[in-house]
Symmetry: C7
Subunit: 86 residues, 7 copies
Protein backbone atom coordinates (compact mmCIF):
# COMPACT_ATOMS: atom_id res chain seq x y z
CA UNK A 1 0.00 0.00 0.00
CA UNK A 2 2.01 2.89 -1.26
CA UNK A 3 -1.00 5.17 -1.39
CA UNK A 4 -2.84 6.13 1.73
CA UNK A 5 -5.02 3.21 2.83
CA UNK A 6 -8.72 3.85 2.44
CA UNK A 7 -11.64 2.75 4.61
CA UNK A 8 -13.95 0.72 2.36
CA UNK A 9 -16.23 -0.92 4.90
CA UNK A 10 -17.59 0.02 8.29
CA UNK A 11 -19.97 -1.73 10.65
CA UNK A 12 -21.50 0.65 13.14
CA UNK A 13 -23.88 0.50 16.10
CA UNK A 14 -25.96 3.62 15.91
CA UNK A 15 -28.67 5.04 18.15
CA UNK A 16 -31.20 7.25 16.44
CA UNK A 17 -34.48 8.95 17.42
CA UNK A 18 -37.57 7.59 15.65
CA UNK A 19 -37.61 10.64 13.39
CA UNK A 20 -36.77 10.74 10.54
CA UNK A 21 -38.12 7.31 9.54
CA UNK A 22 -35.63 4.68 8.41
CA UNK A 23 -36.02 4.98 4.61
CA UNK A 24 -35.53 8.74 4.80
CA UNK A 25 -32.55 8.42 7.15
CA UNK A 26 -30.90 5.82 4.90
CA UNK A 27 -31.25 8.10 1.90
CA UNK A 28 -29.81 10.97 3.92
CA UNK A 29 -26.75 8.90 4.96
CA UNK A 30 -26.27 7.81 1.36
CA UNK A 31 -25.81 11.40 0.25
CA UNK A 32 -22.33 11.57 1.76
CA UNK A 33 -19.57 11.52 -0.92
CA UNK A 34 -17.41 8.39 -1.10
CA UNK A 35 -20.23 6.01 -0.12
CA UNK A 36 -21.61 3.47 -2.53
CA UNK A 37 -24.01 1.54 -0.33
CA UNK A 38 -25.74 1.94 3.00
CA UNK A 39 -27.39 -1.08 4.59
CA UNK A 40 -29.38 -0.39 7.74
CA UNK A 41 -31.06 -3.02 9.89
CA UNK A 42 -33.11 -2.41 13.01
CA UNK A 43 -31.70 -4.23 16.02
CA UNK A 44 -34.00 -2.98 18.75
CA UNK A 45 -36.84 -0.51 19.18
CA UNK A 46 -37.22 1.46 22.38
CA UNK A 47 -39.79 4.06 23.29
CA UNK A 48 -37.77 7.00 22.03
CA UNK A 49 -34.90 5.54 20.05
CA UNK A 50 -33.99 2.71 17.75
CA UNK A 51 -30.74 0.77 17.71
CA UNK A 52 -29.41 0.30 14.23
CA UNK A 53 -26.70 -1.81 12.72
CA UNK A 54 -25.36 0.17 9.79
CA UNK A 55 -23.04 -1.33 7.21
CA UNK A 56 -21.44 1.26 4.99
CA UNK A 57 -19.46 0.46 1.86
CA UNK A 58 -17.57 2.91 -0.24
CA UNK A 59 -14.47 3.58 -2.24
CA UNK A 60 -13.13 5.86 0.46
CA UNK A 61 -15.12 6.59 3.59
CA UNK A 62 -14.23 9.55 5.76
CA UNK A 63 -15.25 8.40 9.24
CA UNK A 64 -15.23 11.85 10.88
CA UNK A 65 -17.44 13.26 8.15
CA UNK A 66 -19.81 10.31 8.38
CA UNK A 67 -20.10 10.86 12.14
CA UNK A 68 -20.85 14.55 11.73
CA UNK A 69 -23.29 13.86 8.90
CA UNK A 70 -25.35 11.40 10.98
CA UNK A 71 -25.30 13.74 13.97
CA UNK A 72 -27.24 16.28 11.92
CA UNK A 73 -30.20 13.89 12.19
CA UNK A 74 -29.64 13.23 15.87
CA UNK A 75 -28.01 9.84 15.26
CA UNK A 76 -25.07 8.87 17.45
CA UNK A 77 -22.43 6.28 16.59
CA UNK A 78 -22.33 4.12 19.67
CA UNK A 79 -19.49 1.89 18.56
CA UNK A 80 -17.46 0.87 15.54
CA UNK A 81 -17.56 -2.92 15.31
CA UNK A 82 -15.62 -3.49 12.16
CA UNK A 83 -13.35 -1.56 9.82
CA UNK A 84 -11.83 -2.77 6.57
CA UNK A 85 -9.04 -0.77 5.01
CA UNK A 86 -7.52 -1.36 1.60
CA UNK B 1 -22.81 9.18 -4.67
CA UNK B 2 -23.16 12.40 -6.56
CA UNK B 3 -26.68 11.56 -7.66
CA UNK B 4 -29.44 11.22 -5.16
CA UNK B 5 -29.12 7.85 -3.41
CA UNK B 6 -31.90 5.41 -4.27
CA UNK B 7 -33.64 2.84 -2.12
CA UNK B 8 -33.10 -0.52 -3.81
CA UNK B 9 -34.14 -2.95 -1.09
CA UNK B 10 -36.65 -2.88 1.73
CA UNK B 11 -37.64 -5.46 4.31
CA UNK B 12 -41.01 -4.73 5.83
CA UNK B 13 -43.29 -6.18 8.48
CA UNK B 14 -46.79 -5.76 7.19
CA UNK B 15 -50.19 -6.57 8.67
CA UNK B 16 -52.91 -7.31 6.17
CA UNK B 17 -56.54 -8.53 6.33
CA UNK B 18 -57.12 -11.99 4.82
CA UNK B 19 -58.65 -10.38 1.76
CA UNK B 20 -57.37 -10.08 -0.93
CA UNK B 21 -55.57 -13.47 -0.93
CA UNK B 22 -51.78 -13.43 -1.01
CA UNK B 23 -51.18 -14.08 -4.75
CA UNK B 24 -53.55 -11.25 -5.66
CA UNK B 25 -52.02 -8.90 -3.10
CA UNK B 26 -48.49 -9.65 -4.32
CA UNK B 27 -49.49 -8.88 -7.88
CA UNK B 28 -51.10 -5.66 -6.73
CA UNK B 29 -47.95 -4.53 -4.87
CA UNK B 30 -45.87 -5.39 -7.92
CA UNK B 31 -47.77 -2.91 -10.03
CA UNK B 32 -46.03 0.04 -8.38
CA UNK B 33 -43.44 1.70 -10.68
CA UNK B 34 -39.77 1.29 -9.71
CA UNK B 35 -40.23 -2.22 -8.28
CA UNK B 36 -38.66 -5.24 -9.92
CA UNK B 37 -39.50 -7.97 -7.43
CA UNK B 38 -41.84 -8.54 -4.55
CA UNK B 39 -41.24 -11.50 -2.24
CA UNK B 40 -43.92 -12.10 0.39
CA UNK B 41 -43.78 -14.75 3.10
CA UNK B 42 -46.43 -15.43 5.71
CA UNK B 43 -45.05 -15.13 9.23
CA UNK B 44 -48.21 -15.66 11.26
CA UNK B 45 -51.93 -16.14 10.69
CA UNK B 46 -54.46 -14.68 13.09
CA UNK B 47 -58.21 -14.83 12.96
CA UNK B 48 -58.61 -11.60 11.04
CA UNK B 49 -55.15 -10.67 9.84
CA UNK B 50 -51.94 -12.14 8.57
CA UNK B 51 -48.41 -10.94 9.40
CA UNK B 52 -46.25 -10.74 6.33
CA UNK B 53 -42.55 -10.28 5.74
CA UNK B 54 -42.27 -8.42 2.47
CA UNK B 55 -38.97 -8.01 0.66
CA UNK B 56 -39.12 -5.46 -2.10
CA UNK B 57 -36.38 -4.93 -4.67
CA UNK B 58 -36.29 -2.23 -7.26
CA UNK B 59 -34.16 0.26 -9.11
CA UNK B 60 -35.64 3.13 -7.13
CA UNK B 61 -38.33 2.53 -4.53
CA UNK B 62 -40.44 5.43 -3.29
CA UNK B 63 -41.28 4.43 0.26
CA UNK B 64 -44.14 6.88 0.76
CA UNK B 65 -45.81 5.73 -2.44
CA UNK B 66 -45.35 2.09 -1.49
CA UNK B 67 -46.98 2.75 1.88
CA UNK B 68 -49.95 4.52 0.30
CA UNK B 69 -50.27 1.83 -2.37
CA UNK B 70 -50.48 -1.01 0.19
CA UNK B 71 -52.92 0.97 2.32
CA UNK B 72 -55.39 0.84 -0.55
CA UNK B 73 -55.73 -2.89 0.19
CA UNK B 74 -55.92 -2.37 3.94
CA UNK B 75 -52.32 -3.40 4.52
CA UNK B 76 -50.33 -1.50 7.14
CA UNK B 77 -46.54 -1.31 7.29
CA UNK B 78 -45.82 -2.18 10.89
CA UNK B 79 -42.08 -1.64 10.74
CA UNK B 80 -39.18 -1.20 8.37
CA UNK B 81 -36.54 -3.75 9.29
CA UNK B 82 -33.98 -3.11 6.63
CA UNK B 83 -33.18 -0.48 4.01
CA UNK B 84 -30.44 -0.58 1.41
CA UNK B 85 -29.58 2.58 -0.44
CA UNK B 86 -27.22 2.84 -3.39
CA UNK C 1 -42.90 -2.81 -13.83
CA UNK C 2 -44.84 -1.30 -16.67
CA UNK C 3 -46.28 -4.64 -17.69
CA UNK C 4 -48.55 -6.54 -15.40
CA UNK C 5 -46.44 -8.22 -12.70
CA UNK C 6 -46.32 -11.99 -12.99
CA UNK C 7 -46.24 -14.66 -10.31
CA UNK C 8 -43.07 -16.65 -10.86
CA UNK C 9 -42.81 -18.61 -7.62
CA UNK C 10 -45.27 -20.06 -5.15
CA UNK C 11 -44.82 -22.10 -2.01
CA UNK C 12 -47.97 -23.95 -1.05
CA UNK C 13 -49.17 -26.22 1.74
CA UNK C 14 -51.39 -28.77 0.11
CA UNK C 15 -53.46 -31.64 1.49
CA UNK C 16 -54.03 -34.52 -0.87
CA UNK C 17 -55.59 -38.00 -0.64
CA UNK C 18 -53.12 -40.90 -1.08
CA UNK C 19 -54.42 -41.43 -4.60
CA UNK C 20 -53.03 -40.67 -7.13
CA UNK C 21 -49.47 -41.50 -5.99
CA UNK C 22 -46.99 -38.64 -5.78
CA UNK C 23 -45.13 -39.13 -9.07
CA UNK C 24 -48.39 -39.23 -10.98
CA UNK C 25 -49.77 -36.20 -9.14
CA UNK C 26 -46.59 -34.18 -9.79
CA UNK C 27 -46.80 -34.95 -13.50
CA UNK C 28 -50.46 -33.93 -13.49
CA UNK C 29 -49.68 -30.57 -11.82
CA UNK C 30 -46.89 -29.98 -14.27
CA UNK C 31 -49.29 -30.13 -17.19
CA UNK C 32 -50.67 -26.68 -16.36
CA UNK C 33 -49.51 -23.98 -18.86
CA UNK C 34 -47.09 -21.34 -17.53
CA UNK C 35 -45.31 -23.74 -15.16
CA UNK C 36 -41.70 -24.76 -15.67
CA UNK C 37 -41.03 -26.77 -12.55
CA UNK C 38 -42.96 -28.49 -9.81
CA UNK C 39 -41.13 -29.62 -6.69
CA UNK C 40 -43.19 -31.65 -4.21
CA UNK C 41 -41.98 -32.87 -0.83
CA UNK C 42 -43.95 -34.93 1.63
CA UNK C 43 -44.24 -33.20 5.01
CA UNK C 44 -46.49 -35.63 6.85
CA UNK C 45 -48.43 -38.82 6.16
CA UNK C 46 -51.78 -39.44 7.79
CA UNK C 47 -54.09 -42.40 7.41
CA UNK C 48 -56.10 -40.87 4.59
CA UNK C 49 -54.15 -37.85 3.45
CA UNK C 50 -50.66 -36.55 2.94
CA UNK C 51 -49.44 -33.02 3.63
CA UNK C 52 -47.31 -31.69 0.83
CA UNK C 53 -45.06 -28.70 0.43
CA UNK C 54 -45.26 -27.74 -3.21
CA UNK C 55 -42.90 -25.25 -4.80
CA UNK C 56 -44.02 -24.12 -8.21
CA UNK C 57 -41.89 -22.08 -10.59
CA UNK C 58 -43.02 -20.63 -13.86
CA UNK C 59 -42.85 -17.70 -16.20
CA UNK C 60 -46.38 -16.69 -15.30
CA UNK C 61 -48.45 -18.73 -12.87
CA UNK C 62 -52.21 -18.28 -12.73
CA UNK C 63 -53.03 -19.05 -9.12
CA UNK C 64 -56.77 -19.56 -9.60
CA UNK C 65 -56.18 -22.01 -12.42
CA UNK C 66 -53.57 -23.87 -10.39
CA UNK C 67 -56.04 -24.19 -7.52
CA UNK C 68 -58.79 -25.51 -9.78
CA UNK C 69 -56.36 -27.87 -11.52
CA UNK C 70 -55.22 -29.48 -8.27
CA UNK C 71 -58.79 -29.75 -7.02
CA UNK C 72 -59.53 -32.11 -9.90
CA UNK C 73 -57.33 -34.66 -8.10
CA UNK C 74 -58.87 -33.93 -4.71
CA UNK C 75 -55.94 -31.79 -3.57
CA UNK C 76 -56.71 -28.70 -1.50
CA UNK C 77 -54.40 -25.70 -1.12
CA UNK C 78 -54.32 -25.21 2.63
CA UNK C 79 -52.21 -22.07 2.62
CA UNK C 80 -49.95 -19.94 0.45
CA UNK C 81 -46.68 -19.45 2.30
CA UNK C 82 -44.72 -17.48 -0.22
CA UNK C 83 -45.31 -15.58 -3.43
CA UNK C 84 -42.73 -13.94 -5.66
CA UNK C 85 -43.87 -11.54 -8.32
CA UNK C 86 -41.70 -10.01 -11.02
CA UNK D 1 -45.14 -26.89 -20.44
CA UNK D 2 -46.63 -27.82 -23.75
CA UNK D 3 -44.95 -31.19 -23.84
CA UNK D 4 -45.74 -33.80 -21.27
CA UNK D 5 -43.92 -32.92 -18.02
CA UNK D 6 -41.12 -35.30 -17.14
CA UNK D 7 -39.93 -36.58 -13.79
CA UNK D 8 -36.30 -35.53 -13.47
CA UNK D 9 -35.65 -36.14 -9.77
CA UNK D 10 -36.94 -38.60 -7.20
CA UNK D 11 -36.09 -39.11 -3.55
CA UNK D 12 -37.11 -42.54 -2.34
CA UNK D 13 -37.08 -44.52 0.89
CA UNK D 14 -36.28 -48.05 -0.07
CA UNK D 15 -36.00 -51.26 1.94
CA UNK D 16 -33.67 -53.88 0.51
CA UNK D 17 -32.31 -57.24 1.66
CA UNK D 18 -28.54 -57.31 2.31
CA UNK D 19 -28.02 -59.14 -0.98
CA UNK D 20 -26.95 -57.93 -3.49
CA UNK D 21 -24.36 -55.65 -1.85
CA UNK D 22 -24.82 -51.90 -2.32
CA UNK D 23 -22.32 -51.26 -5.15
CA UNK D 24 -23.85 -54.07 -7.20
CA UNK D 25 -27.39 -52.90 -6.47
CA UNK D 26 -26.57 -49.30 -7.44
CA UNK D 27 -25.12 -50.47 -10.73
CA UNK D 28 -28.21 -52.56 -11.35
CA UNK D 29 -30.54 -49.59 -10.71
CA UNK D 30 -28.44 -47.44 -12.99
CA UNK D 31 -29.09 -49.78 -15.91
CA UNK D 32 -32.66 -48.47 -16.29
CA UNK D 33 -33.11 -46.22 -19.37
CA UNK D 34 -33.76 -42.50 -18.70
CA UNK D 35 -31.56 -42.39 -15.57
CA UNK D 36 -28.35 -40.39 -15.47
CA UNK D 37 -27.36 -40.73 -11.85
CA UNK D 38 -28.17 -42.92 -8.89
CA UNK D 39 -27.08 -41.82 -5.43
CA UNK D 40 -27.68 -44.33 -2.64
CA UNK D 41 -26.98 -43.73 1.05
CA UNK D 42 -27.50 -46.20 3.84
CA UNK D 43 -29.86 -44.83 6.50
CA UNK D 44 -30.12 -47.83 8.80
CA UNK D 45 -28.95 -51.43 8.95
CA UNK D 46 -31.17 -54.12 10.42
CA UNK D 47 -30.48 -57.82 10.76
CA UNK D 48 -32.07 -58.75 7.45
CA UNK D 49 -32.62 -55.50 5.61
CA UNK D 50 -31.10 -52.10 5.01
CA UNK D 51 -33.00 -48.82 4.72
CA UNK D 52 -31.75 -46.75 1.83
CA UNK D 53 -32.28 -43.19 0.74
CA UNK D 54 -32.07 -43.25 -3.03
CA UNK D 55 -31.83 -40.07 -5.10
CA UNK D 56 -32.41 -40.68 -8.76
CA UNK D 57 -31.78 -38.10 -11.47
CA UNK D 58 -32.62 -38.47 -15.10
CA UNK D 59 -33.93 -36.79 -18.20
CA UNK D 60 -37.20 -38.67 -17.93
CA UNK D 61 -37.79 -41.20 -15.18
CA UNK D 62 -40.59 -43.72 -15.49
CA UNK D 63 -41.60 -44.34 -11.90
CA UNK D 64 -43.54 -47.55 -12.49
CA UNK D 65 -40.64 -49.07 -14.39
CA UNK D 66 -38.20 -48.02 -11.70
CA UNK D 67 -40.39 -49.68 -9.07
CA UNK D 68 -40.62 -52.92 -11.04
CA UNK D 69 -36.89 -52.85 -11.80
CA UNK D 70 -35.92 -52.56 -8.12
CA UNK D 71 -38.43 -55.26 -7.16
CA UNK D 72 -36.44 -57.73 -9.25
CA UNK D 73 -33.71 -57.46 -6.58
CA UNK D 74 -36.17 -57.69 -3.70
CA UNK D 75 -36.10 -53.92 -3.02
CA UNK D 76 -39.35 -52.24 -2.05
CA UNK D 77 -40.06 -48.51 -2.39
CA UNK D 78 -41.39 -47.61 1.02
CA UNK D 79 -42.22 -44.00 0.23
CA UNK D 80 -41.64 -41.24 -2.29
CA UNK D 81 -40.36 -38.20 -0.41
CA UNK D 82 -39.76 -35.81 -3.23
CA UNK D 83 -40.59 -35.50 -6.91
CA UNK D 84 -39.43 -32.80 -9.30
CA UNK D 85 -41.13 -32.49 -12.65
CA UNK D 86 -40.04 -30.24 -15.50
CA UNK E 1 -27.72 -44.99 -19.66
CA UNK E 2 -27.11 -47.17 -22.64
CA UNK E 3 -23.62 -48.10 -21.54
CA UNK E 4 -23.03 -50.04 -18.37
CA UNK E 5 -23.40 -47.65 -15.42
CA UNK E 6 -20.14 -46.93 -13.64
CA UNK E 7 -19.41 -46.38 -9.98
CA UNK E 8 -17.85 -42.91 -9.69
CA UNK E 9 -18.05 -42.30 -5.95
CA UNK E 10 -17.90 -44.47 -2.86
CA UNK E 11 -18.00 -43.65 0.82
CA UNK E 12 -16.61 -46.44 2.94
CA UNK E 13 -16.09 -47.23 6.62
CA UNK E 14 -12.81 -49.03 6.85
CA UNK E 15 -10.93 -50.59 9.74
CA UNK E 16 -7.19 -50.71 9.36
CA UNK E 17 -4.24 -51.68 11.60
CA UNK E 18 -1.93 -48.78 12.53
CA UNK E 19 0.61 -50.02 10.00
CA UNK E 20 1.17 -48.80 7.35
CA UNK E 21 0.79 -45.15 8.40
CA UNK E 22 -2.01 -43.16 6.79
CA UNK E 23 -0.04 -41.27 4.11
CA UNK E 24 1.52 -44.53 2.91
CA UNK E 25 -1.81 -46.34 2.96
CA UNK E 26 -3.53 -43.54 1.00
CA UNK E 27 -0.85 -43.68 -1.66
CA UNK E 28 -1.22 -47.44 -1.84
CA UNK E 29 -5.00 -47.21 -2.33
CA UNK E 30 -4.50 -44.57 -4.98
CA UNK E 31 -2.46 -46.97 -7.09
CA UNK E 32 -5.60 -48.89 -8.13
CA UNK E 33 -6.60 -48.21 -11.78
CA UNK E 34 -9.82 -46.22 -12.32
CA UNK E 35 -9.35 -44.05 -9.23
CA UNK E 36 -8.70 -40.32 -9.48
CA UNK E 37 -8.83 -39.29 -5.85
CA UNK E 38 -8.65 -40.88 -2.43
CA UNK E 39 -9.68 -38.86 0.59
CA UNK E 40 -9.10 -40.52 3.96
CA UNK E 41 -10.10 -39.09 7.32
CA UNK E 42 -9.50 -40.67 10.70
CA UNK E 43 -12.74 -41.19 12.60
CA UNK E 44 -11.45 -42.99 15.67
CA UNK E 45 -8.19 -44.38 16.99
CA UNK E 46 -8.15 -47.56 19.04
CA UNK E 47 -5.23 -49.35 20.54
CA UNK E 48 -4.66 -51.63 17.57
CA UNK E 49 -6.79 -50.22 14.78
CA UNK E 50 -8.03 -47.00 13.31
CA UNK E 51 -11.49 -46.37 11.88
CA UNK E 52 -11.32 -44.51 8.61
CA UNK E 53 -13.86 -42.79 6.44
CA UNK E 54 -12.62 -43.19 2.90
CA UNK E 55 -14.10 -41.27 -0.01
CA UNK E 56 -13.02 -42.62 -3.34
CA UNK E 57 -13.67 -40.88 -6.65
CA UNK E 58 -12.93 -42.27 -10.04
CA UNK E 59 -14.10 -42.62 -13.61
CA UNK E 60 -14.97 -46.25 -13.05
CA UNK E 61 -14.36 -47.91 -9.71
CA UNK E 62 -14.33 -51.70 -9.46
CA UNK E 63 -15.57 -52.35 -5.94
CA UNK E 64 -14.40 -55.96 -5.70
CA UNK E 65 -10.91 -55.01 -6.80
CA UNK E 66 -10.80 -52.11 -4.36
CA UNK E 67 -11.82 -54.46 -1.54
CA UNK E 68 -9.15 -56.98 -2.45
CA UNK E 69 -6.55 -54.24 -2.88
CA UNK E 70 -7.15 -52.80 0.59
CA UNK E 71 -7.16 -56.26 2.14
CA UNK E 72 -3.53 -56.66 1.07
CA UNK E 73 -2.69 -54.04 3.74
CA UNK E 74 -4.95 -55.63 6.33
CA UNK E 75 -7.72 -53.07 5.85
CA UNK E 76 -11.31 -54.31 5.99
CA UNK E 77 -14.30 -52.51 4.47
CA UNK E 78 -16.76 -52.45 7.33
CA UNK E 79 -19.62 -50.88 5.41
CA UNK E 80 -20.47 -49.03 2.22
CA UNK E 81 -22.30 -45.86 3.18
CA UNK E 82 -22.81 -44.26 -0.18
CA UNK E 83 -22.53 -45.22 -3.82
CA UNK E 84 -23.00 -42.95 -6.82
CA UNK E 85 -23.39 -44.50 -10.23
CA UNK E 86 -23.46 -42.64 -13.53
CA UNK F 1 8.42 -23.35 -3.21
CA UNK F 2 11.80 -22.50 -4.58
CA UNK F 3 11.53 -18.87 -3.53
CA UNK F 4 11.31 -17.91 0.08
CA UNK F 5 7.76 -18.62 1.32
CA UNK F 6 5.78 -15.49 2.07
CA UNK F 7 3.23 -14.80 4.78
CA UNK F 8 0.02 -13.80 3.00
CA UNK F 9 -2.52 -14.03 5.82
CA UNK F 10 -2.43 -13.49 9.55
CA UNK F 11 -5.11 -13.68 12.22
CA UNK F 12 -4.12 -11.82 15.36
CA UNK F 13 -5.55 -11.15 18.81
CA UNK F 14 -4.57 -7.62 19.66
CA UNK F 15 -5.10 -5.49 22.75
CA UNK F 16 -5.23 -1.77 22.15
CA UNK F 17 -6.01 1.32 24.24
CA UNK F 18 -9.20 3.17 23.24
CA UNK F 19 -7.10 5.84 21.54
CA UNK F 20 -6.72 6.18 18.60
CA UNK F 21 -10.28 5.23 17.56
CA UNK F 22 -10.72 2.14 15.41
CA UNK F 23 -11.05 3.76 11.96
CA UNK F 24 -7.88 5.77 12.54
CA UNK F 25 -5.99 2.76 13.89
CA UNK F 26 -7.05 0.61 10.92
CA UNK F 27 -5.80 3.24 8.49
CA UNK F 28 -2.53 3.45 10.41
CA UNK F 29 -2.01 -0.33 10.25
CA UNK F 30 -2.80 -0.28 6.55
CA UNK F 31 0.11 2.06 5.88
CA UNK F 32 2.62 -0.74 6.35
CA UNK F 33 4.19 -1.88 3.03
CA UNK F 34 3.23 -5.39 1.79
CA UNK F 35 -0.32 -5.22 3.18
CA UNK F 36 -3.34 -5.15 0.91
CA UNK F 37 -6.16 -5.39 3.40
CA UNK F 38 -6.74 -4.92 7.10
CA UNK F 39 -9.96 -6.21 8.64
CA UNK F 40 -10.50 -5.32 12.30
CA UNK F 41 -13.40 -6.48 14.44
CA UNK F 42 -14.01 -5.59 18.05
CA UNK F 43 -14.24 -8.68 20.25
CA UNK F 44 -14.58 -7.09 23.66
CA UNK F 45 -14.54 -3.63 25.21
CA UNK F 46 -13.03 -3.05 28.63
CA UNK F 47 -12.71 0.17 30.55
CA UNK F 48 -9.27 1.00 29.24
CA UNK F 49 -8.66 -1.36 26.37
CA UNK F 50 -10.37 -3.12 23.51
CA UNK F 51 -9.70 -6.66 22.30
CA UNK F 52 -9.47 -6.83 18.55
CA UNK F 53 -9.40 -9.63 16.06
CA UNK F 54 -7.27 -8.40 13.19
CA UNK F 55 -7.09 -10.21 9.86
CA UNK F 56 -4.28 -8.99 7.69
CA UNK F 57 -3.84 -9.94 4.04
CA UNK F 58 -0.93 -9.04 1.88
CA UNK F 59 1.45 -10.19 -0.80
CA UNK F 60 4.26 -10.49 1.71
CA UNK F 61 3.73 -9.58 5.34
CA UNK F 62 6.72 -8.96 7.58
CA UNK F 63 5.48 -10.03 11.00
CA UNK F 64 8.21 -8.33 13.03
CA UNK F 65 7.61 -5.03 11.28
CA UNK F 66 3.87 -5.34 11.74
CA UNK F 67 4.38 -5.93 15.46
CA UNK F 68 6.66 -2.90 15.80
CA UNK F 69 4.30 -0.77 13.72
CA UNK F 70 1.28 -1.54 15.91
CA UNK F 71 3.31 -0.98 19.08
CA UNK F 72 3.78 2.62 18.05
CA UNK F 73 0.06 3.10 18.78
CA UNK F 74 0.23 1.15 22.03
CA UNK F 75 -1.29 -1.99 20.51
CA UNK F 76 0.07 -5.36 21.63
CA UNK F 77 -0.22 -8.61 19.69
CA UNK F 78 -1.53 -11.00 22.28
CA UNK F 79 -1.43 -14.10 20.11
CA UNK F 80 -1.12 -15.26 16.52
CA UNK F 81 -4.06 -17.55 15.79
CA UNK F 82 -3.47 -18.33 12.16
CA UNK F 83 -0.72 -17.98 9.59
CA UNK F 84 -0.90 -18.82 5.92
CA UNK F 85 2.30 -19.02 3.94
CA UNK F 86 2.58 -19.42 0.19
CA UNK G 1 -3.89 -43.37 -11.96
CA UNK G 2 -1.14 -44.77 -14.09
CA UNK G 3 1.49 -42.57 -12.50
CA UNK G 4 2.36 -42.91 -8.87
CA UNK G 5 -0.38 -41.25 -6.79
CA UNK G 6 0.72 -38.07 -5.09
CA UNK G 7 -0.22 -36.65 -1.71
CA UNK G 8 -1.71 -33.21 -2.37
CA UNK G 9 -3.32 -32.43 0.99
CA UNK G 10 -2.55 -33.28 4.59
CA UNK G 11 -4.23 -32.32 7.84
CA UNK G 12 -1.95 -32.76 10.81
CA UNK G 13 -2.09 -32.36 14.57
CA UNK G 14 1.26 -31.03 15.61
CA UNK G 15 2.78 -30.23 18.99
CA UNK G 16 5.43 -27.54 18.98
CA UNK G 17 7.40 -25.65 21.64
CA UNK G 18 6.64 -21.91 21.85
CA UNK G 19 9.88 -21.15 20.02
CA UNK G 20 10.14 -20.31 17.17
CA UNK G 21 7.02 -18.09 17.04
CA UNK G 22 4.25 -19.14 14.69
CA UNK G 23 4.96 -16.81 11.73
CA UNK G 24 8.60 -17.91 11.69
CA UNK G 25 7.67 -21.59 12.02
CA UNK G 26 5.13 -21.34 9.18
CA UNK G 27 7.72 -19.77 6.90
CA UNK G 28 10.17 -22.52 7.83
CA UNK G 29 7.67 -25.28 6.99
CA UNK G 30 6.89 -23.56 3.72
CA UNK G 31 10.49 -23.89 2.60
CA UNK G 32 10.08 -27.62 1.93
CA UNK G 33 9.96 -28.44 -1.81
CA UNK G 34 6.61 -29.66 -3.20
CA UNK G 35 4.53 -27.48 -0.88
CA UNK G 36 2.41 -24.62 -2.19
CA UNK G 37 0.58 -23.55 0.94
CA UNK G 38 0.86 -23.96 4.67
CA UNK G 39 -2.08 -23.00 6.86
CA UNK G 40 -1.48 -23.16 10.60
CA UNK G 41 -4.08 -22.52 13.29
CA UNK G 42 -3.52 -22.61 17.02
CA UNK G 43 -5.80 -25.12 18.71
CA UNK G 44 -4.55 -24.89 22.28
CA UNK G 45 -1.81 -23.15 24.23
CA UNK G 46 -0.12 -24.87 27.13
CA UNK G 47 2.67 -23.61 29.32
CA UNK G 48 5.44 -25.10 27.24
CA UNK G 49 3.83 -26.16 24.00
CA UNK G 50 1.17 -25.23 21.51
CA UNK G 51 -1.15 -27.61 19.69
CA UNK G 52 -1.43 -26.75 16.04
CA UNK G 53 -3.69 -27.85 13.25
CA UNK G 54 -1.61 -27.67 10.11
CA UNK G 55 -3.12 -27.96 6.64
CA UNK G 56 -0.53 -28.49 3.96
CA UNK G 57 -1.26 -28.32 0.25
CA UNK G 58 1.15 -29.14 -2.50
CA UNK G 59 1.63 -30.74 -5.85
CA UNK G 60 3.44 -33.65 -4.30
CA UNK G 61 4.09 -33.79 -0.58
CA UNK G 62 6.69 -36.17 0.80
CA UNK G 63 5.35 -37.03 4.24
CA UNK G 64 8.58 -38.45 5.64
CA UNK G 65 10.52 -35.37 4.62
CA UNK G 66 7.88 -33.08 6.06
CA UNK G 67 8.07 -34.96 9.36
CA UNK G 68 11.83 -34.70 9.48
CA UNK G 69 11.74 -31.04 8.47
CA UNK G 70 9.35 -30.08 11.28
CA UNK G 71 11.36 -32.12 13.80
CA UNK G 72 14.30 -29.80 13.19
CA UNK G 73 12.28 -27.10 15.01
CA UNK G 74 11.19 -29.47 17.77
CA UNK G 75 7.71 -29.95 16.30
CA UNK G 76 6.18 -33.44 16.51
CA UNK G 77 3.39 -34.74 14.27
CA UNK G 78 0.95 -36.15 16.78
CA UNK G 79 -1.49 -37.55 14.25
CA UNK G 80 -2.46 -37.44 10.58
CA UNK G 81 -6.16 -36.64 10.39
CA UNK G 82 -6.66 -36.47 6.68
CA UNK G 83 -4.79 -37.38 3.51
CA UNK G 84 -5.85 -36.71 -0.05
CA UNK G 85 -4.06 -38.48 -2.86
CA UNK G 86 -4.47 -37.81 -6.55
Amino acid sequence: MLEKPKIIHLVLDVLKPHQPPLPEFASFVGELPGLTRVDISVVEMDEKTESLRIIVDGSSIDFEELKAHMARQGAVIHSVDKVIVE
